[in-house]
Assembly symmetry: C2
Homo-oligomer: 403 residues x 2
Amino acid sequence: MKIIVLKFGGTSVGSIQRIKKVAKIIKSYSKNYRVIVLSSAMSGTTNNLIKMSQKISENFPDNEYDTLVSAGEQISCSLLAGQLLSNGIKSRSWMGWQVPILTEGKHKFSRIKYINRTKILKFLKSGGIPIIAGFQGVDKKLNITTIGRGGSDSSAIMVAKFFKADRCVIYTDVEGIYTTDPNKLNSAKKIQNISYEEMLEMASLGSKVMQPDSIQDARLNRINIEVKSSFVHKKGTLITKRKNIVNNKIITGISSTDNDAKVTLLGVKDRPGIAASIFKPLSQNSINVDMVVQNISSDGKETDLTFTIKSYDLNKTKKLINKNKKISFKKMIFDKNVSKVSIIGVGMITTPGVTFRMFQALARKNINIQVISTSEIKISVLIKKRNVIKAIKCLHQEFNLDK
Amino acid sequence: MKIIVLKFGGTSVGSIQRIKKVAKIIKSYSKNYRVIVLSSAMSGTTNNLIKMSQKISENFPDNEYDTLVSAGEQISCSLLAGQLLSNGIKSRSWMGWQVPILTEGKHKFSRIKYINRTKILKFLKSGGIPIIAGFQGVDKKLNITTIGRGGSDSSAIMVAKFFKADRCVIYTDVEGIYTTDPNKLNSAKKIQNISYEEMLEMASLGSKVMQPDSIQDARLNRINIEVKSSFVHKKGTLITKRKNIVNNKIITGISSTDNDAKVTLLGVKDRPGIAASIFKPLSQNSINVDMVVQNISSDGKETDLTFTIKSYDLNKTKKLINKNKKISFKKMIFDKNVSKVSIIGVGMITTPGVTFRMFQALARKNINIQVISTSEIKISVLIKKRNVIKAIKCLHQEFNLDK
């Protein structure tokens, strides 16, 4: 029988009522699959634990932080296994150290290195449904570690990889991935199938359903992911490899950001390597520079340079640039009232003129484009923040996503 | 350097403020001792977890129960270790499976069999203070198990045993062991020293400070226990072996019970082995028969039998006796308005006339004695519940415990 991995997020197991519902969902799969379940902590639990640790210290030690917060999954998983057992279904909770799920890297930001299959396989073969704690593992010294980015999603995908699962279903509180944020556009439509690459662009550009790292893990291991809601019984979105997707749309989705800031340096003394001199100290301070535009200097001596960063990095960026002795410029200006709007779709690879259509559609609505950046399957533009909804709406129509 | 074990109960670590206070207490020992700390869950946590499990099922599975509730100590111990680290003190939390603390016996009622000393000793020698989760261990298959009776106290005493600790300090929310319940008698005095044997009688007869099983573990392993408060800085009560105690009092303490019931069978057809026929089915159903009195039958044919049980066992007892075909009797009467009052003291072994003084003191207050039972260091009487306070008061005076 094929193996399926079901992962339930915090809101899906957020109360005893929800746990009872989740137990029914799990049972519905058990006829056709050997089921492995991964669970997050009940929503609220992790935050409460973190709040307590912060009352002790803003710099609560990382190793104890991992031990502390991983208690959250211990609670949700034992409750869920207890619920299944009470329903007459053979089940058992497994903490990261019991499987064991071996991690490497530092506390709070570990990554799963290896999952021992022996005990879980034996339990599956005996007809049991293992409930594995997401978000946690142990290092080789048996310290509890937590999975930094992607958390329980990442755990689920790695379990799917090591057990060669047929599919990994991510149960959450949204019905799937949408063509754009439904809170910003009513006519946003649920996407049936999306490629890993498109999903990566959607995720890193603002869609908050899954962490980019988890999607990348799934892509590298060719694991089909279905994202769906544990609250309503509806088909979700399948994230899979490109060639599994039959799609007549050029664009799959539109994303936008809320927390970008634009920095412009006017009258920068131009010389080879000047951009590197500006960006190196930012990079060394973990400031991520996103879009970059450099004007051609008219006389070969001075140039204007524009780039975007996350707005919470703005003050740090200003300080770093002002104390940077390797560069000279006349004036620095910045703007927090900007947003990046992106159209994403593998269809654009084989379809010429997509950029033109995007620019034309925005121009028709008098939306001015400040910066442009493109990749193989994505076109991003920086516009005034107040134009974001208007831009999403006109692009959604232009590329037939309303239908 | 000598090793000391400090155990903190749920109220002692019941809030972040309390944890900060406990960290200071721990530090105060670290100059003169190598310190090992055992902690319970924060007060309220365990009950909340149990309540959630009961919403799932009144018969929540024992193995998942153990995993569930042991999350409580994981939270308190990581917070406490984090607090010490934030205070600049080398510390680390250790879950039962990390030490490991090996248990045997069934879930919810396990007992500690073996504690591996390697890692903890290494940590102690490096100057660290280990914070070990109380109440939990693992069986040889790495299932999480909890310590049935005595819980975290039992964990502390077993740690003291395996690490050959000089002393075990049980920090709680009372200042020590009292001559009698201070809620019942204002003039109750804190006992400075008490023997294991006396403490066992005090504990099993109603004093709720420590579980009898923990005291028995301490007695068997000759571990000195100090019971004291983490809320006030005062000397507590030392529980130790008899010969360490210099005490000029005959009686060490007085205890009373609140939940006894008296059952009397009138006109029981007498024959050899009749008592066994009555009590066997009760014992088989885990009903504990405490005091027993059998009248001499005047004609050798009929007798009256009186015994006490816990009042919550009364209905079950009535049913078992009524369906017992091996016995015949005329009438069964019962009384829930009774209490057992006991005087306890190793001094009575070498002092004649204690029983007489007790009976005389009660008689002077017109308190009627219904049933009597005695052991080497204890005399118990069953009296009307409404007379309990009066009885405790007059016995407290009679045996000079007020001073």
